[in-house]
Each structure stands twice: as C-alpha cells, then as structure tokens.
C-alpha cells in the first residue's frame, strides 16, 4: 500500500499500487485511469492538496493502528470509512500531523491579498507584482492600495489582507496592544532602509539650524513610525523637547504636501516620494535625508499576523521568498530606473516617474537649486534585525508610548523573525548576514542592543525612566 493509497478503500486494493493520487508525480493517463477505477478515488482527487496531505496522514495512521491489511479492511467494512476516519481522528490529531508534513511544500493558499500604502517604502511589495516575483513563487497575489496606516492595520487584523506593508514599529505596537487590541504580529522582512527625509517649507530656507525651530509644526505619518522616533531623536539631540517646543501631528502622506503648501505645517519627516513630491511641486526643500540621522535605519516592514505564519506556513514562505528576492533585485542600483517605471502607474503608486526616479536613483533636486547625488538615499535590505526592534522599543519607552518594565529582547525575538529570514534567504540563494546582532550608531551615538536600559537612561530629554 502506497503512502497515497486510500486506506479506507475496501475493494481489496491493499496490495495494488496506484500512482494517481501522487499529484505531481503521476502522469495524466494514470490519473484518468485512477478516476475511472473508483468513485472514492475520484472524490479524493477533487478534494485537492489539503485533503491529499490529510489522506496521506490518515493512511499512515490506519497502517499504524492495523498493521495487517486484512484486519484493516475488516474493520473499515464493519464500521464504514467515515466512521473509521472519525474514530482515528479521536485518538490522534490528524490536522496537526498534516501541518507538520506540509512544511516546505505547496502553498496552502495561492490567492493572497497584500495591502500597501502608496509610498516608495513599499517598493518590494509593489514591484513584485508587475515584475513577476510573486508568480515565480506560484502565488497569485493581489496588491491592494490602502488609505492609511490605521486602515491597513485594521484590514490586516480583520484578515482581509493576508499580509501588508506596515511601518516597522506597527507590528510591535499591535503585538503589545498599543492603539489596537493585542494580536501577535510578526515582521518577517524589512522592506527598505533609509529613504525618508526632513522637508521644510520654502519660507524656512534660511533656518537650517534646528535650534531656530521652536514653535514649528511638523507632520509625521503615524505615531508608531520610525519617522516619529527619528524626528524626536533629531530634535532632542538639538535640545528641543518634541512634546513641548514643537508640535507633532499625524498626517496622512497625501495631505502633507497640501498642508505644506497651505502653510499649516512648517515641515515634515515623511516617507519618500512625498518629500521629493514637495520639492517637485516647488513648495518645500530638503533639509536632510533620514540617512544623515541614522545611516541604515529600517523604515517600513512586510508584516503578517502570527496566525498566518503558523496556519499557512507554505504560503507565508513563498510570499516571503518573493519579497526577499524583490528586495535583493531592488538593492542593485542599476535596476532602480526600471523599478521606478514599473511602480509609477495609477495601479500602484500613481506618482510622476521623475519623482520616483529621483528617490530611487538618489540623483535628486534638493529644492534649493542644486542637484544632489546620493546612491544610498534609499536602499533595500530585507533582513529583520532583532536589534532594530530593540531600538524601536527603547524609543517607544522613551516617549511614553510604552509603560512599565519591557522585555526588550523577548518581544524583539517574537516579532522580528530573524531566524526565518536566514533560512529563507538561504533557500533563495542569497547570503544572510553571519552576525547574530547588529550594533549601529544614531547621530554618532552607538547603540548596544544588549543594554537597552542603559541606552535609555543616557538620554536627557525623555518622558519615562
């Protein structure tokens, strides 16, 4: 009896071989023959991949319970196939076993929905669609443009989206129950590093020293964003308390340029193409790129619920491989122009190609009459370093978003799936980093992820201790 035989068949096929149910291994002729041989087999074939895996497990279990084929047939004949299967399921959780078997196999779900916010941070998620990275993994992914961070969060929590583009602190906040109900979320991959900027209104072109910014109104995309933490960090390093000396407002990215034009805000630390768009439309100039605050900082994340990761491990794996490969492709400077054209249409970013090219190639107008060149203005590195998460948690704690004792390393490990990324990068033929932690410097100040508390204590301007 083969692994793929129907163990509940009483027609005496216990000794016959039937390759029809082997899926990929069988030819169509064998397959057809099998269908005509037995109705039970036909139903079984129709049931698809899930049922097939399940049937394999059931077959194993039946053999384990009744090693003798004659006894096995007698038992099934006596009680009926359905009852037999039910009886076996009582004593052994078949689904769990099926899941274990399925790991590394065919995606459980091929039609997936992934939400994104139309900013260049989402480049790997978006470009994977027109450039075929999803279909290469056998997935049929629909990338859905979404109106805002709260909506993308709710739609992902509601399982309308299987995975989504989020600001990388958002999965941490969701897992901790900050601003929503606590649902375990994960960051299987970072999308982009750098790629943000502080843009100021044209009227402030002579106020380049942050000390002159007292009373300014700044826009940030969301409370749980790197933009918020980087701007606060930058201001605090220049002696301004971000909560009392300036005003920070959460503003949806499209409204930022309009508000800057209307002089409702003095500037923003925003995701790109928004920053370059303000320059393109002549309403703002580039003060600094975010990489000047922290070169190599993560920004947006590819996020999925823990439930999706555990319930559909194959779909999750395939999706992640697509993102990682797309990010790898996008990390090469020579591909950037091609990407800009692919993601500019109304179906994706809906933005002028000129603006996207400036962001992605790093040859850009600074709004003050100069053309600047910085190939690392934005780059793409999917590796979800746990130390990134630890830094974000220290800032959440610093600005009072997080209260009480924090298990920095524990939460980071739960949410940022560094281990999975290593495995999948290897599968995709990429080289994962060898180091297990990463230390980095923000505005010249070194961050040691093993000592978050000491790091937090070293700041003069903060809300909590």
């Amino acid at each position: 009896m083969s692994t793929f035989d129907n163990p509940f068949d009483t027609e005496g096929k216990a000794t016959k071989r039937c390759g029809c149910s082997c899926g990929a291994h069988s030819t169509q002729a064998e397959h057809d023959a099998a269908v005509s041989r037995a109705k039970a087999e036909a139903e079984f074939l129709k049931a698809g991949e899930d049922a097939r895996v399940r049937r394999v497990v059931e077959a194993g279990l039946m053999r384990a319970v009744f090693p003798n084929p004659v006894q096995r047939r007698a038992f099934i004949k006596a009680v009926g196939a359905t009852t037999a299967a039910a009886a076996i399921a009582q004593v052994f959780p078949i689904l769990t076993a099926a899941d274990a078997l399925a790991a590394g196999g065919v995606p459980e779900k091929k039609d997936l929905k992934v939400g994104f916010i139309p900013i260049t941070c989402a480049t790997p998620i978006i470009m994977a669609h027109p450039m075929g990275f999803y279909s290469k993994q056998g997935l049929n992914v629909e990338v859905v443009k979404t109106a805002g961070w709260a909506v993308i969060r709710d739609k992902t929590l509601n399982k309308e989206y299987d995975a989504a583009h989020m600001l990388s602190p958002m999965p941490l906040a969701i897992s901790l129950g900050l601003g929503s109900t606590a649902v375990p979320f994960t960051v299987p991959a970072i999308e982009n590093v750098n790629g943000q900027a502080i843009t100021l209104a044209m009227k402030h072109k002579d106020k380049r020293d942050p000390k002159q910014w007292k009373g300014f109104k700044f826009a940030i995309p969301f409370d749980y964003s790197m933009h918020n933490y980087l701007l606060r960090y930058y201001l605090a390093e220049h002696g301004l308390d971000p909560d009392t000396d300036v005003q920070l407002r959460s503003v949806p990215p499209p409204e930022m340029v309009a508000n800057l034009r209307a002089e409702n805000i003095d500037g923003f630390l925003a995701p790109d193409n928004i920053c370059q768009r303000a320059i393109f439309d002549g309403v703002g100039f580039n003060h600094i790129l975010s990489k000047e605050i922290w070169d190599g900082h993560p920004c947006c994340a590819f996020a999925a619920s823990k439930a999706f990761v555990t319930e559909s491990p194959n779909s999750y794996g395939a999706l992640l491989r697509s993102i990682i490969e797309a990010a790898a492709f996008a990390s090469k400077a020579e591909n950037r122009k091609q990407i800009a054209e692919a993601i500019a249409p109304a179906n994706y970013l809906n933005a002028p190609v000129t603006v996207l090219e400036q962001v992605l190639t790093g040859t850009y107008a600074d709004g003050l009459g100069e053309v600047k060149k910085d190939p690392n203005r934005v780059t793409f590195d999917p590796f979800p370093w746990e130390s990134f998460a630890v830094w974000m948690l220290t800032q959440m704690k610093r600005w009072g978003q997080l209260k009480g004792d924090v298990d920095y390393q524990g939460i980071a490990k739960e949410v940022f799936l560094q281990t999975d990324a290593v495995r999948l990068m290897k599968e995709a033929g990429l080289t994962p980093p060898t180091a297990s932690t990463k230390t980095f410097a923000v505005m010249g100040k070194t961050f040691d992820p093993s000592k978050p508390k000491e790091y937090l204590d070293s700041f003069a301007i903060k809300r909590s201790t």
Partner: protein, 279 residues
C-alpha cells in the same frame, strides 16, 4: 409668459456658467513666470516649480480629463486602477445595498412606531440618541466588529439612511387622516389589507420624502466612507488622485459625484410625484 421666463432663466444660467468658467480660466492662467534654473535641475522639477504654472487646474484641463474618463469609463488596469464608470458602479452598488437594507428595516419599524403610541414612546429615546451620530463615527466600530471593510461601508450607509426613512414613515403612518382609517374600519377591512390599501398609500408621500432625504445622505456618506476604507468606489478614486495631488482628477470626480447625486435625487423626486395624491 411662463415660457419666456424659462428661456430667460436658462439664459441667465448660461451666463453665470460662462462667467464662472472665464474667471476660473483667467485666475489659473495668470501668475508669475518661471525662475531661472539650471537645466539639469529643472529637468527634475515639476512645471508648477519651473514655469510658475498654478497648482490649480483650469476649466480646459478639467474638461479634457472629464472627456477622457467619459470616453473610457470601464477600463481595468489592475486592482488599484479601474475606470471611473466602474468606480461609480461600486459606489452605487454599496449605496443601494445599504439603502435597500435600511428601507427593509425602516419602513416596517416605522409602521410599527407610527401605529403604536406605546412603541413610539418606547423607541423614541433610542432614536433620538442614535440619529445625530455622524455615520462615519460608526466606521471604526463597524470595522472592528464586522471585520470586513466592504460590509462596513454598507453598514455605514445603512445606519445613515435609516433615520430619515424611519422617522418619516412613523410620522406619515401616525398622521394618516383618522377618517380614512374610519372608512376602512366601517368596511371591516382586515389589518393587513388596511395597512396596504389605506395606510401605505396615505403615508407614501411622507415615506418617499424620507427616502429622498436618505438617498442624499447615503450618497454624501459613501464618498467619505470610501475615502476612509479605500479599495474601490468613487471616494477611493478621489483619494487616489489626491494622493497623486491630481487636482484635475479630483475636480472631475467632484463634478461626477454631483451629477450622480442629482440623478439619484431626481429619481426619487419622480417616485414622489407618482405616489403623491392631490387633495
């Protein structure tokens, strides 16, 4: 005389329109000339920065865009980019689903309230509290409990269009002339037949007025709701074009929204004339 006043009114309307378009055109074509720029730099900038063009589009831009949408209303270029006609279709489907659902609830419940002074008093505090809530305030709650943005949008339409219909139905039913009811009573007409042959026709003009108010509100709300949840619909279209700072498309969408809203209103006005009886 009446014809001449109509002719004169249309002439004045046309004059107002032409003046408005002209003023609009002149207002956006003026403005400063471009600054002197390094050509390398200028290539990276938009025309509002290089040529001093107003960020506000003129009537000709809007006209051209509108014509482009009218010529090809049903294209599909991916999940996030479909024609204006299809977007409108999505919005109208949502409005109709929520609206019909609201009708199915509001008219029977309105009947109940209108016919029973007890229920009228018992339900009044709830209606008074729920009625003034902005429909969009329900959106987060709907998203949280229904867990589906499409259904949530329909729910928001439902909740905003139910009140005018409910209140008008209750009012219309409660104020059916006593003598008509007495006619039915002296003829020993059963309650169901009475409801359909006397109360419903008598209250119909009031009910349809409520329906007309409701469809107006529903159409106002769907645009806002779709801007919030996105995905499809005319509201999403506005949001998507705003995202690209394409004021031309936003104005085009505004015109289209106004036109469809007018059609919906006129449809119910026609129904209103049909059920209204002269006394």
């Amino acid at each position: 005389m009446t014809q001449s006043i109509e002719v004169r009114a249309s002439l004045v309307s046309a004059l107002i329109l032409v003046t408005f378009l002209l003023v609009w055109h002149l207002a956006v074509t003026g403005g400063g000339s471009g600054q002197a720029m390094d050509p390398e730099y200028a290539k990276l900038m938009g025309i509002t920065a290089t040529q001093g063009k107003s960020a506000m589009p003129g009537p000709l831009d809007v006209g051209a865009t509108l014509w482009g949408h009218i010529k090809d209303p049903f294209y599909v270029r991916g999940t996030n980019d479909v024609g204006l006609g299809l977007q409108l279709g999505h919005s109208i489907m949502r409005v109709m689903a929520g609206y019909l659902l609201a009708m199915a609830v509001a008219i029977p419940v309105g009947f109940l309230i209108g016919m029973s002074p007890l229920m009228s008093r018992a339900l009044d505090p709830f209606i008074q509290v729920l009625k003034p809530i902005s429909p969009l305030a329900w959106m987060p709650l709907a998203l949280y409990t229904i867990k589906d943005s499409g259904t949530s949008a329909i729910f928001v339409i439902f909740i905003c269009s139910i009140w005018p219909m409910l209140i008008n139905t209750a009012f219309g039913v409660a104020n059916v002339r006593k003598e008509w009811i007495n006619v039915a009573r002296t003829l020993e007409v059963g309650p169901l037949r009475k409801a359909f042959t006397v109360i419903l026709p008598a209250a119909a003009p009031t009910i349809v007025t409520g329906m007309r108010i409701s469809i107006g509100i529903a159409w106002l709300v769907i645009v806002a709701a779709e801007m919030l949840v996105g995905g499809t619909g005319i509201g999403y279209f506005v949001w998507n074009e705003w995202n690209n700072l394409s004021i031309t498309n936003v104005i085009t969408a505004i015109l289209v929204i106004g036109f469809v809203g007018m059609l919906l209103d006129q449809g119910l006005a026609r129904l209103g004339r049909f059920v209204t009886f002269p006394e």
